[in-house]
Symmetry: D2
Subunit: 153 residues, 4 copies
């Protein structure tokens, strides 16, 4: 028996404003301190910042890439899963996590929110889509707190 990584999906855009990136990095740090790893889409922006924060605190980082070239992963990803499946990898990103943290984000993030809700995963949004099923949070601390409180026991 080995210790199984407990992961949270952090979803958000590949490009974002500095304050959004700062929030994502802080979310990654908080998740790692709480004993969780981060799974994300493996590219830049929110994905990179969250992975960076998580890795800084010793958390495991898993990146599930849309392309087939592992070199596209950001430098904070420890375990790379290239897929060559394009957007279909969005589903895998949310399936690999116990719950999803949406940070800002556009249409790709919206598809991930839809997939997560369909699977019954808790979803917390930080400056993200304000739609039914997504619990809004105002700060990284609140976002991580709300999400972890809603995880299945």
């Amino acid at each position: 028996m080995v210790s199984r990584a407990r992961l949270i999906s952090v979803i958000g855009a590949g490009r974002a404003e500095p304050e959004v990136l700062q929030a994502a990095r802080q979310c990654g740090r908080l998740l790692a301190r709480a004993g969780f790893g981060v799974v994300c889409g493996g590219l830049g922006g929110v994905m990179s910042a969250a992975a960076q924060g998580c890795a800084e605190e010793g958390g495991l980082t898993l990146g599930i890439l849309p392309g087939s070239d592992p070199a596209q992963a950001n430098p904070y990803i420890q375990v790379v899963v290239p897929t060559g499946m394009g957007q279909a990898r969005n589903l895998l990103v949310v399936m690999a996590g116990l719950g999803a943290l949406a940070i800002s984000g556009g249409a790709g993030t919206l598809s991930e929110i839809g997939h997560a809700l369909k699977m019954g995963r808790p979803v917390v949004g930080l400056g993200s889509w304000e739609i039914e099923g997504v619990t809004p949070a105002a700060t990284p601390e609140e976002a991580v707190g709300l999400l972890l409180a809603r995880l299945p026991a």
Copy 2:
């Protein structure tokens, strides 16, 4: 050279109220009369009703199933693509259409809207998610009209 089918993605829930199903069937009819086929998730509810309406008017119906058993397709599907990929087939449903018509629908439909918007497909909603990027319509006639008007030339 053969004539290539021009398809519209009709997305919506596998179970729905009678008036929603009636609207879906009418959308299918209108699409077929305008020379389009319907691609959908191949199962029941909105998917079946839209396929039924389309087939009634001689339009082509394509069903992309989440499971691997073609027998799960509703009886109005002419061309069945089983996938065994579960929710990942949602992406394929919207990718195979020139635009998407969302009729009512829940989280699965939301994931499809997200994928469609990410791909730049026009999306019209009929009693569906009221979010940025989705053009709302009040009737099947308006929905089909708005969508066809927004298709790339």
Copy 3:
């Protein structure tokens, strides 16, 4: 109720010698005459030739593309399913058919043979991989005959 298309998967390389292409086209013709459509990977070579033969005889042609651009389909495909999933579409090509006809082919075809055998689909090879589970045939006539005889009732 509509009439459901009965499809045979024709798998093979995107580039092939003239005699291989001629055989693929003949297989497409024979399948259409027997009342079957052709599902293939939608690109060139064996895929295009088989679709051409099938379309010449009025059979339905379904192309499941690795990319997301429907314009990549060869001109003999009536129904295009772009996937953006790269090689993962290989599985879909064999899943959409009642059985698989492998014509020449390299590593991609090998992956499709593996998937088809795993699903219990009959597989006939025409100048293709000579491995356990693949019934070899010497001519298009023999190949189509052997495959159709092995389809589930």
Copy 4:
């Protein structure tokens, strides 16, 4: 920057004879001692044995499941990627590794060999399919040695 896991795909059947499982476990151990982790399909048989051996020697184990339930992973998997994509996950298993080690195995393994060869990954077989492109080995030591020697620099 974090240290990126270097993974080898170990592919083989979910059920196997004791001597095959022993060989798989030994391969896992040897890979871990050489500094590599193991990515596999996450289930039982060869997948479980290889993960066990790898974990015993402190190597990282990644399991990419066909189903959507992470609880289906064998107890030696540290990082679980459920996919809900069925056989389509076979492609991901080989894509996540630098090379593939095929141990015994049936049709599913054959599909993985095909995908690996298509991607240009080195493939070594231990009591597996004897086909063009697969380098045969007689022992776990030889198999791991041959595979590591063929990895891209």
